[in-house]
């Protein structure tokens, strides 16, 4: 009597329903996708944090440089620098200043005074008259 080969299964035993395979594959796919996205999010979060930190450091550096620049640009510093380099600058004598008038000259020369003149010309209520 021939021995039964237990390793050899029948065709019926080997069949796994395709729907089950599909479901399992889908679940695995979704799971892998989720893990991938999650990992990507973590990575992006980490990059954002690094960039935030770098941005802040650069901002602090900029402020430091601005402060230094402001210190160098004070009239006193400029005057000291000029003296250090032997440059003795003075205002031009009145006679050396030539004023050329055109239709816009007044506006340009007195641009700072524009508002002042406007306010002076306002009709105002006299409070203590």
């Amino acid at each position: 009597m021939a021995r039964v080969n237990r390793k050899k299964n029948t065709a019926d035993q080997q069949i796994i329903p395709p729907r089950l395979i599909l479901t399992v594959l889908t679940v695995i796919g979704v799971g892998m996708g989720y893990l991938g996205i999650r990992s990507r999010c973590e990575q992006l979060g980490s990059e954002i944090k690094k960039l935030e930190s770098s941005c802040e450091i650069n901002q602090r550096r900029l402020e430091n440089e601005e402060s230094k620049w402001a210190g160098l640009m004070t009239p006193r510093s400029i005057e000291e620098a000029l003296t250090r380099h032997g440059l003795n600058l003075t205002w031009p004598r009145r006679g050396q200043v030539v004023r050329i008038y055109d239709s816009r000259a007044n506006d340009l020369a007195l641009v700072d005074m524009k508002d002042a003149v406007r306010f002076a010309e306002l009709e105002r209520v006299a409070l203590n008259e």
Binding site: C41, A70, T74, G95, D112, F119, A120, E129
Partner: protein
Amino acid sequence: MNKPGNLIGWLRKKLNGISRLWIVECLLLLAFGAVGARLVYLHAGPNEVRIQKAQDASEFTKSLVPFRGRILDGSRNPNILAISLGVHDICANPQMLTAATNTELAVSILSAYLKMSKEDVRYKLRFSDKKFAYVKRFVTRDISERLWTQITNNHIKGIYLEEATLRSYPQNNQACHVVGFVNNAGVGSLGVEMTLNSSLTGTAGVVKGMRDGKKHEIYTRRTEEIQPIQGDDVILTLDQQIQYFTEKALDDAMAQHSARAAWAVVQRCRTGEILAMASRPAFNLNEYGAETDMSRMTNRVLSVVYEPGSTLKPVTLALAFTEGLVTPETMFDCENGSWFYMGRILRDYHPYSRLSVADIIKKSSNIGTAKIALMMGDEKLHKGLRAFGFGRKQGVELPYEEYGILPRLEKWSGLSCSRIAIGQGIAVTALQMAGMMSAIANDGFLLKPYVVKSIASSDGKPRFTAEPVVLGRPIDSKVAALMRYLLARVTEEGGTGTRARVEGFKVAGKTGTAQKPVPGGYSETAYMASFAGFLPADKPEITIVVVVEEPQPYHTGGVVAAPVFAQIAEQTVRYLNLEPTEPVEGAPGAAAPAP
């Protein structure tokens, strides 16, 4: 029985017949049962304290400190007067550091980079049982970053950096009384830093989220993130350049006249904007803590009251013109320099017999002015002085402004009118004097002085923009024009203020020399020299008031304060590019009228 071999044999005997697989299954079941029971207990059991503890360990809340807003000057390209900087505190763990083998190397590096002696560094690390010590605070990032590179390259443990904020004032002592400073608690304590503290401070932000076992933030579990709102930027009306001219002129005057103090204010008379406000002696804003002389922190322009002397005479005359009591041609007997009135003698600096009202102001006659005031009477003079803003605050956005002293009318004696009219028995601030002069320059309109031009959020959105505010109109435009004409004569030949003249401009102003009040009378040696004026006299743009306290040996306003006025005015008109109104020698087409 006690031997191990016997015990194993006994167990074999007992377990004989029982499947070993069954035993393993039981053990596994028990183990999983225990774990399951523990899980059920942890999740469903009455364990709120532990849950809270676990949450506390993983959750975190971090406060985000806002940076304080900047303070800028009002020039076309605003310059930074105050800015907050991100810096580092250099900290150490003395316990760890002293136990390490490379302690001396660490001390050397710290000493070299922080510009401290090695003894100082060792002193900071002297408590070797402690785990924390500051080595140096508020170190700028360029230094701290280079230091950190050295620390890490040399594998030194026990030194670390902490983030900190430092309020920096790049101008050091320039405009120190106006800008002010922030104390160690981060609160503004003087100047604009104090009055606009809430605008400058900003609003703190917050970050809430979860941390992992290594205390690192899990970014995907950040539950709340509110960015801090940075403090607003404050733009002042001060101009760095004009401020410098003013401070330099005061420094020169202090040195030349060995004065005790000096102060000055430059105001745009058409708007009330303060272009410069300086007080000497001053202090360095970056080292305010080291200052021992607190009087250096006093903004004398608005916090010190003084007897104005003759600089108040224009008020008396303007009020007399307003009342129609006198004209510029009205003559007064000036009693040859000595007048006995109500039991007291009033003297003139130079004796005159008869002077017109126009010359009374030009020559600064006390007797003539006192007689005009007596014609006016106490009540009108008092009311007029109040209308010009004396005895009350001007309302500038700076702390510690004084009211000045204008005695109540009921307290005036028979002599008060004649003395207050010439600037005695009344105390004023330089800011009030500037307001008075600006009112004359500005057709009689008294304007509120202001130092804050605008406030803007850190992203540049405007929050506040200043506009001129009229406080009153003590005199009308005709009287103001007349006063401008008369005050311009003061700087002409024969007047007391010739040293205040500026080439190319007609200057209007008044000198003042007042003895300092001392207990029981007036000092014979200590004087207040002052000059208040504006230019150009015909079309005024800027008002300047200069006060010098106890100048030596010269003490008159005309000799001491008027040149300071001229020095400031000369440079300011050029900087502001004001067109000369008077002929200038050698200038092509001098003073040609603009089309």
